[in-house]
């Protein structure tokens, strides 16, 4: 007999929020794993991109505690390969935004050492601030 999964209110609200911010219909994900298979960062992640999709789909808010969304660098490898035409990088961005919009930054901008400041190209610093501060 098929088992029906019912999301609680909090879960539904979370899924709705992430779908709204990302513009992606996350529930279309088939869990084929192509995104995780091609992700160049997957080794450094604690859960895979396809797990991010699954957990979000099921309204599991603990996905926010994972470091995966912060490791994702929006390289769009998953985006061009998803057979369901889903943009996983947008889902990562939505998850990051939920945290950043609570004024929780992922980088302390004062931590740049003088040595790094002499070496780093402007584009690296601008990019990191855009992705890691709200």
């Amino acid at each position: 007999m098929p088992k029906k999964i019912t999301l609680n209110d909090k879960g539904i609200e979370f899924l709705k929020k992430i779908q709204e911010l990302s513009g992606e219909t996350i529930t279309l994900c088939d869990q084929c794993g192509t995104c995780s298979g091609g992700c160049p960062f997957v080794e450094d992640m604690d859960i895979t991109p396809s797990q991010i999709m699954r957990k979000t789909m099921l309204g599991q808010t603990d996905v926010m505690d994972s470091k995966t969304m912060w490791i994702c660098a929006s390289c769009y490898t998953c985006t061009v390969r998803c057979p369901r035409m889903l943009d996983v990088s947008k889902v990562s961005e939505a998850l990051r935004q939920v945290k950043l919009r609570q004024a929780i930054d992922k980088i302390n901008i004062d931590d740049i050492t003088p040595e790094d400041a002499n070496e780093l190209p402007s584009i690296a610093v601008v990019s990191a601030f855009r992705k890691f501060t709200g």
Partner: protein, 300 residues
């Protein structure tokens, strides 16, 4: 023969600071093949890295401002044509994405125009292109013609990275099997290397606060190039260049047996092939000294 091309050009922050050698080599090499890059006035940040959430319009303001500069150049007759050219892959990606977004979503265009009430409205007429999109048969022919020093002994791995190819509707070539850089290398007389890592991410901005990720990825990319027989890697992105070139310093710290490999901006090899002065090639700006390799191949 087609006429010379004069095109509005957006440098971006890094071409004015750490990647001056990219800009000077590209401008000077382009002159040789009848392409004149006219820097747009009063440009600002390209809006990197493209903001991906549906409601975050603030981050799209910067690119739209730059597009308005091109629109103004056209209105005042300073430019002919609606194209804006970038050399940096990241500038290309973020400005093209924003342009596409405001063109496809009139409500976003209106919000941004309303917010920037001191600027003229952006009307959506500008097209953002990357330098490589100029390389049609005609221009490749000119490149072949102007190449006085043959790169035939130089095995070159074309590194596309992410921003030139993805996502599909932004990319300038097939995201899995691109060929535009190979065509350029062949026209310069060089040997394009077939390799696996040409569109693998270099780790991007993680280089700021998560260096180790970048070190591992860069090492993998360089070793893949080496294994595939490459002498050097070329790129059109100053962030990829930093991660692949400068970060080799960190790779060596972790792996003493690592063999370094010079990394060029594609335009530097154009300048080499065209026999330009060393100040136009800008070799001092490269971290891993490329001079021994170029001397060995009798190119300088």
């Amino acid at each position: 023969m087609k006429e010379n091309i004069k095109i509005p050009y957006f440098p971006g922050c890094t071409l004015k600071t750490k990647a001056k050698n990219f800009e000077v080599s590209a401008i000077e090499a382009s002159k040789m093949i009848g392409i004149e890059l006219t820097e747009i006035p009063k440009w600002n940040c390209c809006g990197v890295v493209s903001s991906l959430s549906t409601d975050d319009l603030m981050k799209h303001i910067a690119p739209v401002r730059n597009l308005i500069r091109v629109q103004e150049m056209n209105d005042s007759g300073q430019a002919n044509g609606n194209r804006l050219l970038t050399l940096c892959s990241m500038c290309f990606n973020s400005m093209k994405r924003t342009n596409q977004r405001v063109k496809n979503k009139p409500e976003d265009m209106k919000s941004i125009n309303d917010f920037m009430y001191l600027e003229k409205d952006y009307l959506g007429g500008v097209e953002v292109i990357h330098y490589f999109e100029l390389l049609d048969e005609e221009i490749l022919g000119r490149i072949k013609e102007k190449s006085v020093k043959s790169l035939k002994d130089l095995k070159i791995a074309p590194y596309y990275g992410c921003m030139l190819l993805r996502p599909k509707d932004i990319g300038i070539d097939n995201p899995e099997e691109p060929s535009v850089m190979e065509n350029l290398i062949s026209s310069l007389g060089g040997k394009p290397v077939k390799w696996d890592a040409k569109s693998r991410c270099c780790g991007s901005y993680h280089t700021v606060n998560n260096k180790d990720i970048v070190i591992n990825l860069a090492k993998g990319i360089i070793e893949n190039a080496r294994k595939s027989g490459a002498d050097t890697i070329i790129t059109s992105c100053p962030l990829c260049a930093f991660n692949l070139d400068n970060r080799q310093k960190e790779i060596i710290k972790k792996d003493h047996g690592f063999r370094t490999m010079p990394v060029f901006y594609f335009s530097q090899l154009m300048a080499v092939a065209f026999g330009l002065k060393e100040e136009f090639i800008g070799l001092d700006g490269n971290y891993i000294d490329p001079k021994p390799l170029l001397k060995e191949k009798k190119l300088i």
